[in-house]
Symmetry: C2
Subunit: 685 residues, 2 copies
Amino acid sequence: MVGASNDAGRIGGMPLDLLRHFGYAGRVYPVNPKYEEAFGYRCYPDVESLPEAPDLAVLAIAAREVPAMLERCHARGIRAAIVYAAGFAEAGEPGAALQRGLEQFAARSGMVVAGPNCMGFANLNLHAYTAFAAVFRNVPAQTGPGRASVITQSGNVCSAVFALMRGLGVPVSHFINTGNEACVEFSEYLEYMAQDGQTDCVIGYVEQLRDGPRFIEAALAFARERKPLVIYKAGETDKGSEAVRSHTSALAGDLALYKAGFEQLNVIRATDFAQMADLAYLSGFRQRTGGRRVAIVTMSGALGAILADKLIGAGLDVPTLSGALQQALREGIPDYGMVSNPVDVTGNVVNSPQFVHAIFEALAATDQVDAVVVYAPGYLLDRMAGTLVDICARRQRLFVAIDTGAAQYRSRLVEAGIPVFDDIGRATQALAPFCQWLARQDAVERWAGLRQRTLSTAAAASPLPARLNEYQAKQLLAGYGVPTLRELPAADADAAAAAARQIGYPVALKILSADIAHKTEAGGVRLDIADEAALRAACADILAAARRYDPGARIDGLLVQPMAGGGVAELIAGVTHDPVFGPALTVGLGGVLTEIYRDASHRLLPVDAAMAGEMLRELKAWPLLDGFRGRPKADVDAACAGVAALSAACAGLGAQAHEIEINPLQVRVRGEGAVALDALMLVKT
Amino acid sequence: MVGASNDAGRIGGMPLDLLRHFGYAGRVYPVNPKYEEAFGYRCYPDVESLPEAPDLAVLAIAAREVPAMLERCHARGIRAAIVYAAGFAEAGEPGAALQRGLEQFAARSGMVVAGPNCMGFANLNLHAYTAFAAVFRNVPAQTGPGRASVITQSGNVCSAVFALMRGLGVPVSHFINTGNEACVEFSEYLEYMAQDGQTDCVIGYVEQLRDGPRFIEAALAFARERKPLVIYKAGETDKGSEAVRSHTSALAGDLALYKAGFEQLNVIRATDFAQMADLAYLSGFRQRTGGRRVAIVTMSGALGAILADKLIGAGLDVPTLSGALQQALREGIPDYGMVSNPVDVTGNVVNSPQFVHAIFEALAATDQVDAVVVYAPGYLLDRMAGTLVDICARRQRLFVAIDTGAAQYRSRLVEAGIPVFDDIGRATQALAPFCQWLARQDAVERWAGLRQRTLSTAAAASPLPARLNEYQAKQLLAGYGVPTLRELPAADADAAAAAARQIGYPVALKILSADIAHKTEAGGVRLDIADEAALRAACADILAAARRYDPGARIDGLLVQPMAGGGVAELIAGVTHDPVFGPALTVGLGGVLTEIYRDASHRLLPVDAAMAGEMLRELKAWPLLDGFRGRPKADVDAACAGVAALSAACAGLGAQAHEIEINPLQVRVRGEGAVALDALMLVKT
């Protein structure tokens, strides 16, 4: 502890106080020439005089003193350091320069440096407190081994969430505030936690992910280990994201892609501190089986309705039970109670609690639901407790209890594998993402497999020309299976006429130029050309208009297409390069209203046809493809195949295909396919 | 207490136990021939033998015994009763018959009967516990006078919310579970509470409103008294509303209208029990001035971003402060702290807390924000407490503190008029609707005035014919100022030709029939008719097509309209009759996508032009009217005038105009007006 203090209120003293207070078993060396001793530890004047090279140096010194001290630590044989000091990248250009120096030192020396501008760490299982956080002494003491880790980019958030977790009795293994992440970045901590035997879930807070691809790998490692990874991402609104940028100069990344990517990676996106703590609590029950379809059992019709509203609102299903199952439940439930789900066992449970046994047994066994939520306040829950414990000893299905009273058997229920909540809002807010997480475990493994196959089969693509016109782009895409029209490029009117004869009239004619993105605006599109005379006139018009529109544009010629006829809908399918996550695919319906309503679906690549189908079904405008109000149904399978082919093209062409947009992907009546009417590809040189 | 018991665990004993325990000062008469005494009160064999007619009879007896007992109570001179028993309207037809008997008895006798199927009441200020709820003995004791009332249609919800309120230390005046509301209905309780000096807010839960118009009056009384009325309405989802119907046979009413109506009446729509308790807590600070624009002060950039996200997400504004104000704040804040809002005073506050005084003073005085949210955990908040107390003694502006630590000065802050929260999610979830409530106080009073003027000037309308065709409907609407085309009805082709000459070609021609709602589908519309020959041919075609489409339809002739030309947008403006709230106005953009996206705005009538403007701005598709991506701006003023005229027409025509729809209301380029191209009016006979 360099810059040690004997004042527990100072950052150089607080960790020493904690190490002493909690009884750290390892050796601790305060370093400060001013003291002989601090908190009972012998104090040394400098790192050079230490009796051995410690595993870790904690620097509680000012920013400007850090570089020289790190050099001295390195020289003393110390391999790792935590730097508390603020005044680096978050503090203007002088600080940024200091941070660059730190990064260079770490790269040169091989020393592992955490921070700067961080509170440090605590390994609660080892009582290794190297964080200056007052919170450790203000929360309920931890007796058993910790199992949940909290990792945040903000010290305040780390303390606040840790306190909530401890308040719920969640045993914590690691407390980590990463700070500026100059040398050790968020996903690197995650990689460690994915394989750490003392950590079965991570509760995280990020303002930016500095290494998106590494984050993807870490998240997939969590998925493999079936450990929940819960992340709160700040910057939901423009104002919030401005505030984040202002104090971290973070790369924004697209928020919609954060949401979609987290879901795809089965990372639980938290939106509230209390919810984070509740998810850490629920993670202790992750071995139980569960999913989206929930049965609700209450003794109150009102609470049944409220819980249904809340669980459905949070994204779960409350399916109506089959007639046969309802009949079986009815045997224990009076006429005025509901059996359809929510199941209302009514106040009768007071007089004859045993009749709920058959109900719980039926709901534990049925394949119509994945999890069971039981609401009963206080003594009413106590009357059901024995039954619940008995059933959960024999069945793996997730049962969750909500008690707004003061049930005495809460801890017995928890020991039996039944999480107990005391607030309806908090219960549903945590339960919904937890059940989604349980439900998505297979999907993320499937995607990991698809991704692995895609990565391993990717051959080096032949280099692309710097600029591609529409025909070239579509030819490339067609090579990967994107459906295109049978269209022909033509250098001039004569060639166009020959092409049109081959294709057959009527045809459409377009200017062919990589420099003209807005062809219609440029007067570069003619539709429904009936014969050769009209075609030749159109050629002249289009070429003249294009030259007027952009005299400097390189014109490659003309493109002759058969007339496409009408479709049920026109989609936009595009691949962009997100600054955080890299290549990502977006699908939406064309048109100004879908833009205003921001109705689009996003995925990290690769995407197969099944995933494309999920993307389309996610669109609010999905009914338009699905026969809304008697309209014809669209050829969704063909659309999905087209989207999957776009993904394959990206994998095949590699990073040089920086952006691709198919707009529109015309989707025809079911059975008649889909076709890319226009496409654009930007090459990264 | 009829059906008294000496067992505190039974419903006939629990209230007696509570009355004795809390020391009710009035006279209590248990009635039960089995006992001499219960809880120290002398017990009587029957109501006839009571020494006086009590103010209230509480019936803790079975449903089938209730009718006869009410007759005996009435005969004994008792004027009011609470009926606990279940087994009435919620229990099938036999119960419904029993409840109808109860209603008839109450109407005949003039006796006031609360319930049935209810837990009863408690007036906590009088210690008058006539509710069988175990919760009263399980919550922190109340010392001062209660000021918040909880009124619910579910006993379980009443207990759960009351417990949360008491847990926060909110002093409660009335606890009321209304049950089936056979004779005394929810809004009647609200009317009482609006004028009750012991109640400054009501926290309510409803599954259905049985008397919408009375609810409107009660809500306006709350608005006049500036008392918050907070209502949780169950049945948000189809499943939840099915569950509500199943156990109450509730009239659904339109959920979107519930939301819009609550907002219009400045009723706070709660969505969570904890939020309800928090709003009861905040109601204690309702005298402070506040509104939508919030300044955030933190000592953590992360928390600034998080709070901005949450407050904006919950519907408030976090405006960027002016350059001058930022400069003033900067004097106390280091370079790396933010001053734009969120204001990040940084950890420096630890060392020099006095510099926040100038910051709070500036934020208390500026007209750029309405309220100030301060986040600082534990001892950091304590360091600011003195400053906050000082400023709030001199300024009326609402300051709110959030402390995720354990600040010692919390109660001092509360006494100074500063609410303190300990959870960020709960703070924002309650604060946002509370600030909205503060902000809407003037709007609801303006609307109450508009409504009063509309009601007082409404003359009896002359009776309408049972069926109105398009021309007749539009003529009626035009009489109230709805803009229409200069169009003419025509009995036959000759008359149509004359009309077209008068109007001038090109014209549009439509079938005129109150029986054919879907004119286009019936082949009853022709556009862009250029001359008389075409017109005569169109007349013949349309009449023939209409007869084919519906041989039984009464055909009134034809309607000749000038061609309308294009508009910027087409709106739908309609008035429907909600089963709960009565006449309500809906405005939306036409087209299938707006239907899929459910993009519509609703209001209770009347609506003036300013309110119509708010409705249009509420639409997600508003940008289309407002020059999205270089499109022309629409004549919004004319559209608003048209919508207001529709509202005036409803007021003028009265209840007989059961439904009216203008579809489309074409809105032209700014300055060129709006016009009802088609309209439909259904008359209630």
